[in-house]
């Protein structure tokens, strides 16, 4: 008997008072049928705090809290505005308001994870496929993956404003004109059966690529099964994944590292595997459609080619003991709560530290405070190491700029900028991951250790460019002395 089986029993048949279908991005009608889940879903507007900005409602600026982030992101829009995350209810408005969008041109792909966008993908896809006018009936009728994929690619070529406008032109189930909603029921549930499903092209393509790789993924047994099968079709999470895996995949549609600008269609870089160095290797060998090398931005201070890491929660979780033990995102972030005689999944997705009893005690037989303390021990270690890596990163930048000022050539600087890229990528990977290391504590520390090493190496090489040849060491190596010098100290 395990959590998974236990939850199965909690399932209870439901009566539909309101019809919902494939255009119902407005959660309200769903809420009539499933009031408990809807109520908790609405609570994502609440703002309670836990340390390190977990569920922080102020969305304090991370740039002000950690000034070194400005130098990490120098030359990139993230240096303008980068804040704490908050509840799902805000995902769309926060995106509309960020300076990254208001002060810089952004791509339509941004909406992949910030709006309930699938019916719009379908509509754009049908148009691309040559349909003149797409009726609401047709949109509502079925999911139509081919059209959704086409529309997704289309939107990746639009810019943000146009894409946003398209969403408002798509019916949302209540008003024909339509309205843009943040993540909604339809994004994770089949309106027919209410079974959980994934709807995001970025994830479907990414997980299929992962399945094709040879990265061992013992925590995702259905991928192992697909690999042992005939492979006559791509791995399809909606067909192949276990329900327990789906309880993670619905989140992995968004809480992942991504490429999302307009030089290429949005993608998740999992073709070599999910580890930090495997993703780096994929980017190293990746070329844009125009044939140029993959890059997110040229670093504003040194000109190095930098990869930007974004919230790799799924990737880090994958390296942790919880994933290895089959514990899904929903187990901790959507714990079951007792509603009278039945148990329902909390849709108030937030910090598990606010619900440690329900989120953790189902497995850990210790009191809630002790569980919170254990998390803080892990997060404090991660935080200390992150700050240490940040110091190494900034003093590296100073050293490289000094070398440049001293007239170092591009040939001389090339290997140094490569080290800078490696060091920054690892630091960003952990500091942009939102669990402060909890999702995989030792792995997070390992990655930060490597970040420190690469940044310091870059600093050293930059210094060497300015230092004269090292002289032959002269000082002789002292022979081993006896551990016991003969002059013994008086005891006590």
């Amino acid at each position: 008997m395990n959590i998974f089986e236990r939850k199965q029993e909690a399932r209870i048949p439901f009566v539909r008072l309101e019809e919902v279908d494939e255009v119902s991005t407005d959660p309200a009608p769903w809420g009539v049928n499933w009031p408990h889940q809807y109520d908790s879903y609405l609570r994502t507007v609440d703002m309670e705090e836990s340390d390190y900005g977990g569920s922080d409602g102020m969305t304090a600026s991370k740039l002000e809290a950690h000034p070194w982030l400005k130098r990490l992101f120098a030359g990139y829009a993230f240096s303008l505005d980068y804040r704490e995350a908050r509840g799902h209810a805000y995902m769309l408005s926060d995106q509309e308001k960020t300076k990254r969008v208001t002060e810089r041109k952004q791509g339509g792909a941004c909406l992949h994870c910030h709006a309930s966008v699938v019916p719009t993908y379908r509509r754009l896809g049908l148009i691309e496929q040559g349909e003149m006018d797409v009726t609401e009936l047709e949109l509502a009728h079925d999911f139509n993956w081919p059209a959704v994929m086409k529309g997704f690619e289309k939107m990746s070529t639009m810019d943000y404003a146009d894409a946003h406008a398209e969403i408002e032109m798509t019916p949302d189930g209540t008003t024909a004109s339509g309205k843009a909603h943040p993540v909604s029921c339809i994004d994770c549930h089949d309106p027919e059966s209410m079974a959980i499903r994934v709807t995001r092209p970025g994830f479907v393509n990414g997980i299929a690529a992962l399945a094709k790789s040879d990265d061992p993924v013992p925590h995702l047994p259905s991928i192992q099964r697909w690999r042992n099968g005939k492979k006559d079709r791509d791995y399809d999470p909606n067909r192949d994944a276990t329900r327990q895996e789906m309880r993670t995949f619905v989140c992995a549609q968004c809480h992942v590292e991504y490429y999302c600008a307009t030089k290429e269609t949005l993608f998740f870089p999992w073709g070599n595997g999910l580890k930090v160095e495997q993703i780096e290797e994929l980017y190293d060998n990746h070329k844009f459609p125009d044939g140029s090398d993959f890059i997110d931005y040229k670093h504003g201070e040194t000109g190095a080619k930098i990869y930007k890491a974004q919230h790799p929660e799924f990737e880090l979780w994958s390296q942790g003991i919880h994933a290895r033990s089959g514990v899904s995102c929903a187990d901790c972030h959507m714990p079951y709560e007792r509603k009278g005689a039945m148990k329902v999944s909390s849709h108030w997705v937030g910090s598990p530290l606010l619900t440690a009893d329900k989120s953790c005690q189902t497995c850990h037989n210790v009191n809630a405070q002790e569980l919170v303390d254990r998390v803080h021990i892990i997060q404090d270690r991660t935080k200390a190491l992150t700050e240490r890596a940040a110091v190494a990163m900034t003093s590296m930048l100073d050293a490289i700029r000094a070398a440049q000022a001293a007239g170092a050539t591009d040939e001389q600087l090339a290997p140094i900028l490569e080290l800078q890229k490696k060091g920054m990528w690892r630091l960003d990977f952990i500091s942009s991951e939102n669990s402060k290391g909890f999702h995989a504590d030792q792995e997070a520390a390992r990655i930060l250790g490597e970040s420190i090493d690469y940044c310091r190496q870059a600093e050293i090489e930059a210094l060497k460019l300015r230092a004269p040849e090292a002289p032959e060491p002269t000082g002789e190596v002292i022979e081993v002395e006896g551990i016991t010098p003969d002059d013994k100290a008086p005891v006590n």
């Binding site: 008997m1 395990n2 089986e5 005690q361």
Partner: protein
Amino acid sequence: MENGSSTTSRRKNSWKRYSRARVYVGLFSSCFAILLGIVLGLGTFTFGYGKGASYLSNDPQTCINCHVMQEPYDTWQKSSHHNVAVCNDCHLSHDPIGKWVTKADNGFFHSLAFTLNDYPEPLRIKPRNRQVTQNACLHCHADFVHNMLPVNHQEETMSCVHCHADVGHALHARVYPILEPNSR
């Protein structure tokens, strides 16, 4: 002679339990007096609904008169013990007086908690009842774990569930939902 000394120690021990038991009886009846009023005020008293009398029976079926007992029940059925121990073998004191005391106060207070719908989620055993379960383990396994018993009365015995957390039922068991069966 060593054996002699240890049997006396046993007698001393059960005497301690007996006196403890009497305290409970007193405590129980007085609480009952006070609480009965409140509960009756609440109208339907679960002790009836929940077949409170079930607390006086040994059939695990009767525990699941309360849905909150469903999960322990289901996991118990898959546990290593469901052929050899029912709920009450572990959750009732095994000496004549303690037994009825446990039945009475758990029966009463659980009914009360159920009626008031006021209890922790997930359920956490109370220290008093944990001691009951520990004694239950020893009731059946004392000989096998003889080595683990304290060498003197100052010393403790490790809690059996420190290592055998899910012998009765996998409640807080750290389970592995998606691993293939052969990984168990």
